[in-house]
Amino acid sequence: MKPFEIVEEPIDVKQYMDYVLHPSAGAVTVFTGNVREWTHGVRTLYLSYEAYVPMAEKKMAEIGAEMEEKWPGVRVAIAHRIGELQISDIAVVIAVSSPHRKAAYEANEYAIDRIKEVVPIWKKEIWEDGEEWIGAQKKYPSKGVE
């Protein structure tokens, strides 16, 4: 287990929580992003994630360094899974420990916002009647979605 990693197997949250815990940590926050079945009335069958692995791990480590600078005393671990994920599977886990809780919440939310901005990972949604790579751009309208 590395503190910033792309994995292909199901994510075991506990090992990331254990990694960030230490005797001066009074608070741990964990975020998991899970595959949701229904989005705006459209049913997702499953998702497929792809990453530019070495760059993604590097960018996640950079986000961790940003967090430690903004919130001194936090310890961070981030993992993102790639490949085919089924409904409710964990796509991403962010574990943050801190002496006090406020920083643990703020830093954790910062991490997922930054991941969605800069980490080279892509999600493809597979529906009953089609599939599409998801991204910020709207040039490629959704297939089979209202």
Partner: protein, 77 residues
């Protein structure tokens, strides 16, 4: 020789995940123009380029030996 990597939608558009380009030097902007002309529907306006695993600016120079990745809008999380 420059290594080019394609991900997600761009992998579908290019029909490959990786190839090499036989050039000594070009800018990021020139590389994007080349991709746009080579692969119809590339959509270079919405594509960033990473050179050796760091985001590059349009005016940055790419040299032989570099690894370039075309990065469509990310959607992790």
């Amino acid at each position: 020789m420059i290594t080019l990597k394609y991900f997600a939608r761009l992998r579908d558009v290019a029909g490959k995940g990786e190839e090499t380009l036989d050039r000594e030097e070009l800018t990021v902007s020139e590389l994007l123009d080349w991709a746009e002309q080579t692969y119809p529907g590339f959509g270079a306006d919405n594509v960033q380029v990473a050179v050796n695993e760091d985001y590059a600016l349009k005016e940055d120079t790419i040299r032989s030996g570099d690894v370039c990745a075309f990065i469509p809008p990310v959607s992790g999380g």
